[in-house]
Amino acid sequence: MLGKKFVISVLGEDRPGIIAAVTRVLHEQGCNIEEVSQTILQNQFSCFFIVAGPPEGTPAGLVGALKDKTPEFGLLFQAREVGAGTVGPRECGGEPFVVTTRGPDRKGLVAGITCVFAEYRVNVAQLRAVFRGGDDPGDNIMIYEVDVPVDADQKELRKALSLRARELDLEISIQHKNIFEAMNRVI
């Protein structure tokens, strides 16, 4: 019987075979994968799993088994048990917008923009940022997919983001997600 849910994170240098090794161990531990998201940043592998595990399973037990059985990859594991009912599909509480910035690379760009989001209760659903350095704006891009609360003052939010972008020497655009859907997707 599967009675518990765990969130497991995996970090390490990317190479072939990591997912095969990790999922084999999870299977041996009696876990059923419910959702997984994996990405590679430069040459670094990262992966999150949400799994349903056996009633006797523990986070420490899972991490121990994963470490013991995948030593050749030098991976870093973390696991946490989540209570029944606390994990489920994310509720989208607002209007979906895409915020994009370009500008010369410098420290504090992500923090500078996201603190405006936080102030207006804007939730970041996806963030991709590439900073290749230098002054070419095309080499330094942040793309945020965000949910703007329905009751947020959109005019004020735009003003605050534009002001912050100017302070950070960034070009910013704030567009409803539907325009990207309309122009890029057939259905």
Binding site: S173, Q175, I179, F180, M183
Partner: protein, 457 residues
Amino acid sequence: MFTHGEILSVLEMLRSEHLDLRTVTLGINLLDCASDDLGRFRERIYDRITSTARNLVAVCDQVGEKYGIPVVNKRISVSPIAVVAAPFGPEEMVAIAGTLDRAARDINVDFLGGFSALVEKGTARGDRALIDALPEALASTERVCASVNVATTRAGINMDAVLLMGRQIKAASGLTADRDGIGCAKLGVFANIPEDVPFMAGAYLGVGERDEVINVGVSGPGVVKKAIDRLLKDDPDADLGRITELIKRTAYKVTRAGELIGREVAEVLGIPFGVVDLSLAPTPNVGDSVGEIFQSLGLRGIGVPGTTAALAMLNDAVKKGGAFASSHVGGLSGAFIPVSEDLNISRSVENGCLSLEKLEAMTSVCSVGLDMVAVPGDTTAETLAAIIADEMAIGVINRKTTAARLIPVPGKKAGERASFGGLLGESVIMQVNNAAGDTPFIRRGGLIPAPIHSLTN
């Protein structure tokens, strides 16, 4: 989740390729404002226009901001005034044009179209009054646009009206001589005019339309040009099949953006959505030109041999992409080649690539016609009418819309410059064959009958 490429390609279109929504045009039916009391009529049309459109500009700006795509022009089209104001004479028609102008100014739209008459088979009293009023109405107003449909494939060409229009164009030019004849820039003479055009000067609300409707005109010559440039940079040997496929896909994107914004504007205003007009509409800015596309395709300039084939290919690809993107396509839908409004096209005239005759040939494969063509000030009314008649014949025989927006520039000769300002641009005055000569053919008048292929029932 969108890919980097999906997001960045949209941003690039906005940042450096002049992607915008060229116009949102609110059609307003004025038929039930009819009255034989001039004061009451003017009051009714003013109230109808200003109350229906009071939020148009604000809503367009708000929706444009939401999607990050500006709505450049907000416009009004109304029922043909020659029908709505049929009881009135020319002087009253001029006063009505003044009322329309005031309404347009008060709601801050840049143009109002519909000072129009439909005379393809004959000229009724209201039509004649409106046509007689045209020179004064165009000279005394700033934002009113006029159109006269003188031909259809089903009716033939009303040659009496064609000659009359030649004379009125000449007169309108004379009344605005201090501004290079700009009055004529707000007047189009049409064959097969559609009832739902959002673009000026031909916008009017057809009598078969509902009370109110939102029609939009997309843009995108800069987007198409840059897409072709990118393809040819990656693959210099790309053939025309690949290029047309690319144009088609690009037109799809531009159309989808236009329809999304147009529908939302319509929804917020509580007005039904009508059509997307798929025209590639240029402006006098570098990078926003239909003419530049021809250079990207490998022609020395628009007008050299090969231009008509390239234009036919471009126009067809734009329509195919747009038709896939939207089920509600209308208006003119094709590539515009307005000479003074497109910096590259006006330069082609200047450097000898483009002649009036070649321009006319090109209009047989694209929308809309001889558009914003500056001609010598001494061109006679008969020669103007003859140019119009040729253009109408192309429309009638090919079952398509064609138009002539000719501007005889007072006191100036071929090769000199005419400047109209803003979006209307500037151009070298084109050479006209037989400009000041006699043309008895045009004076014969009557109706050129409808072509045999009009008998389709």
